[in-house]
Symmetry: C2
Subunit: 87 residues, 2 copies
């Protein structure tokens, strides 16, 4: 998988572009429920941004309930049948 392009001069900041890209990959089924999203380190290399930027993107996906994270293990695509609204 080639590096995915991030436009640092686009109106949308990189962390939002990355979040949108990952959302698309999830909705397309490229990233399947229960399976891990690439590690932060891999996403850093994939998008060519800093780790904090990747983490900001993942924070958005978590807020949307699209993924969940297990410390020390990784971040996984959430199961649609278990929506995480709030609480």
């Amino acid at each position: 998988m080639a590096a995915r392009e991030i436009d640092h001069r686009a109106p949308k900041p990189p962390y939002q572009q990355i979040a949108a890209d990952l959302k698309k990959r999830i909705s397309k089924g490229e990233l399947e429920p229960g399976k891990p999203v690439p590690s932060e380190k891999e996403l850093v290399e994939l998008y060519g941004v800093a780790r904090n930027t990747v983490r900001s993107a993942l924070t958005l996906l978590r807020a949307d309930g699209l993924v969940y994270t297990v410390p020390g293990r990784g971040t996984y695509v959430a199961d649609r049948s278990a929506p995480a609204a709030d609480e």
Copy 2:
């Protein structure tokens, strides 16, 4: 107002301690709805942490709908009658 103490060795990380402290001050009425929370710069000096740490705390309060932020102006205590669940 003396510096508010943050325990860097406590189980809760500083940004959570700060969020909890600000929540308490809001619930006590020390920080009133519609009125500004201290600026990030002031919170940095008050708690003796980095700006990013203060911002992490404010992000939690925003997620709880307790405060809202206006770029270039400041962060304000939300009005309880207008709860911001999501969207």
